[in-house]
């Protein structure tokens, strides 16, 4: 992201104001003031709810009053979360991983075409990628439920071709992964496009000048230059996909395709007295994703991203 800001700053005309002579002390207070709105926002809407959620995850149910809790240090909630819902965690990571993979396969060529080949169509393509955001995510997923319905065009065609052994598409893991891929695709396209678009075309040309063929140039020059976008795209896809429950709820089935988000939802809303376990599930998921992202960035991350 620093590259982007440097690029923008370099492009504009600079009216270089000399730094005010007030000295370091004044500058530091300006920094505090600038941080204040964002900091307060984070405190109010991120830190406090997080602490609240953590205390809920340690509460115990009030004996004899299902649905009421008292403050406690009940680690057992985490035990329940990890043992009873291990399959859901596995499924969340698997589905999110698959969705990220498919989104990458679809997004990279698209972003590449937009950056280098689209010409006057670039803006149209850009609008096509962004346009779905103008409609609610839930509505679009419900629309997919209609499109993939048993009597709908997709399922009927597949059934006609004998390509649909189960007889239906919705309520299967394929529908869930397809929904996740669809919903998070723009988050993969845009960062990759951004990094390809600002890649210096002369460097790529130089690859050809040095007798590399098209594929070698791509592998050794273009792809590395787009890595910040790829990393950002995979993170922006994987993290929300792992926590998503809308796709599994609307396109999946009751038992075999549920993800962690679904059990968090049902522990909160459908199971009486499930708040502490739901909170523990939320925290475990957060920790798991944080750890994976940390390892991922350590392994593949670039200076530009951090």
């Amino acid at each position: 992201m620093t590259v982007a800001s440097a690029h923008v700053a370099g492009g504009g005309t600079t009216h270089a104001d000399p730094a005010p002579a007030g000295g370091a002390r004044k500058r530091s207070w300006t920094a505090y003031l600038l941080l204040l709105p964002g900091g307060l926002w984070l405190l109010l809407f991120f830190v406090i709810p997080l602490v609240q959620l953590f205390t809920v995850s340690l509460q115990s149910g009030f004996p004899g009053y299902p649905g009421y809790y008292y403050r406690d240090v009940n680690i057992g909630n985490y035990g329940t979360a990890l043992t009873e819902f291990a399959g859901h965690f596995g499924r969340s990571l698997l589905y999110a991983g698959l969705a990220t993979f498919f989104a990458f396969i679809l997004a990279y060529p698209l972003a590449y075409a937009m950056a280098f080949k689209a010409g006057k169509w670039r803006n149209v393509m850009m609008i096509c990628v962004i346009a779905p955001f103008f409609t609610s995510f839930i509505l679009r997923t419900i629309a997919w439920r209609q499109i993939l319905a048993d009597d709908g065009p997709v399922a009927s065609t597949l059934k006609f071709l004998h390509l649909l052994p189960g007889g239906h598409i919705t309520e299967t893991w394929m529908a869930v992964v397809a929904g996740l891929t669809y919903n998070f695709l723009p988050f993969m396209v845009l960062p990759i496009y951004a990094s390809l678009e600002r890649a210096d075309a002369r460097v790529i040309e130089a690859g050809g000048d040095l007798y590399a063929n098209g594929f070698t140039t791509f592998r050794t020059v273009t792809l590395p230059m787009s890595m910040p976008g790829v990393i950002a795209g995979t993170l922006l896809t994987f993290i929300p996909a792992a926590g998503d429950y809308v796709n599994a709820d609307l396109l999946g089935s009751d038992r075999s395709t549920k993800m962690v988000g679904n059990v968090i939802e049902s522990q909160f809303f459908k199971v009486l007295g499930g708040f502490p376990v739901a909170a523990a599930l939320s925290f475990t998921l957060m920790a798991l994703i944080l750890a994976m992202v940390f390892l991922y960035i350590r392994r593949f991350g670039t200076e530009e991203l951090l």
């Binding site: 530091s28 830190v47 004899g64 709908g152």
Partner: protein
């Protein structure tokens, strides 16, 4: 003092503040709803009433996009009534609003509608306000059989909205035959095209009846588990596509499901909405389930009087008959049958709206017995496992 220190300190301070502010609400003290402190009633100055109800549960005009009886109420009383189909399922709606009610926060609703057993919990936990029946002259039109229910003796906190049956619903044009028993649902050609209700008292009640168990009395854990095992097997084998709240109607509409365990009135509304007269509702040969939904005023509502005015309005026989003619549920209002003669003489004979005692007996229609809180917790947990919650 570095910036990092200041920021860290602010975060810690915030965390400490959050910790002290987040003690969970304590269970209610004894004394029942009578002991609960009521909020000040603002009905005189704020002419509004906000009503949360289930899907397909009030007469709706497709062309005008409004609810005719509710429009008439607004015109008559000047109280601006808003209606939302918030409730998909007793558990999910209750668990959504209960934390707010317990913390004394307004939920933006002045009337909500719950099934008997959940109404029982709402009253027991002091989450609703008492009704002043003296201000509700038409409330005495309530059917005698419903006047003294176990969860609300004397009807001091709740009034029946509608009652109804759970049974089999299906599209005859797609199924191609009549479905008369629950076993008819588990046919190879219907595999994966069946929806059942997430309301276990309805779904398991029907299964129990088919297993020769009377859900209205004296069954125990063993019988409950036998019924649960049946549904568990049907889900595992892929016969049951989804277990859902009121949104099962969407699956019937889209064609993903062609049959299922459903609520009686919904199928009649579905007929009208899809303009398909092949939708059938059938009480299984082994018997059907009867339930009632009840209007109540949330403990935090500041429009108690307006809410009572609205409830009273719907207890006028002619208004009740108009609603029943649309929703096709069992009407709890005395005198509505005579009014129905004027609207549609056919419907005045419908057993789904005005069932006679003989009809209920002949068709073996039962209510699910009240569970003790321990049973409730245990059975709900067993059911939650089966349906993947």
């Amino acid at each position: 003092m570095t910036r990092r220190n200041v920021l860290g300190g602010a975060l810690l301070g915030g965390a400490a503040a959050a910790l002290s502010a987040c003690a969970p609400p304590a269970p209610p003290a004894g004394g029942g709803v009578a002991a609960a402190k009521l909020p000040q009633d603002l009905s005189a100055t704020e002419k509004v009433v906000r009503w949360a109800n289930w899907t397909a549960y009030l007469d709706y005009d497709e062309d005008a996009k409004n609810y005719p009886t509710l429009e008439a109420f607004i015109k008559k009383t000047g109280i601006k009534a808003t209606y939302t189909e918030d409730v998909d399922d007793n558990d999910s709606y209750f668990n959504k609003i209960a934390p707010q009610l317990r913390a004394g926060q307004d939920i933006d609703r002045d009337i909500f509608v719950f099934t008997d057993w959940m109404a029982n919990r709402v009253i027991r936990e002091q989450l609703c306000q008492p009704l002043e029946l003296i201000r509700m002259p038409h409330a005495s039109n309530l059917l005698d059989a419903l006047k003294d229910v176990s969860f609300d003796p004397g009807r001091e906190h709740s009034l029946t909205w509608q009652s109804g049956f759970a049974g089999i619903g299906y599209d005859r044009s797609k199924v191609g035959r009549h479905l008369k028993t629950l076993d008819d649902l588990w046919a190879p050609d219907l595999k994966g095209r069946i929806v059942v209700l997430s309301e276990f008292r309805d779904t398991l009640g029907l299964i129990m009846l088919s297993q020769g168990v009377d859900p209205s009395q004296g069954f125990g854990k063993q019988q409950f588990e036998a019924a649960t095992a049946e549904i568990d097997k049907r889900i595992a084998d892929g016969y049951i596509r989804r277990v859902k709240g009121n949104s099962y109607l969407e699956d019937l509409k889209s064609g993903n499901a062609v049959a299922g365990i459903v609520w009686s009135g919904d199928l009649f509304v579905l007929r009208a909405e899809t303009e398909n007269d092949h939708w059938q509702f059938q009480i299984p040969e082994s018997g059907g389930m009867l339930w009632s939904d009840n209007m109540m005023i949330p403990i935090t509502s500041t429009h108690r009087k307006n809410a009572m005015t609205l409830m009273d309005y719907y207890y006028q026989p002619d208004v009740a008959a108009t609603v029943a003619a649309y929703v096709n549920y069992v009407c709890p209002v005395q005198g509505a049958q005579a009014e129905m003669e004027k609207i549609d003489p056919e419907l005045a004979k419908s057993p789904f709206i005005f069932p006679s005692a003989a009809y209920l007996k002949d068709n073996n229609i039962k209510g699910f017995r009240a569970l003790t809180p321990q049973e409730d917790a245990e059975y709900s947990a067993a059911w939650a496992k089966v349906v993947g919650n």
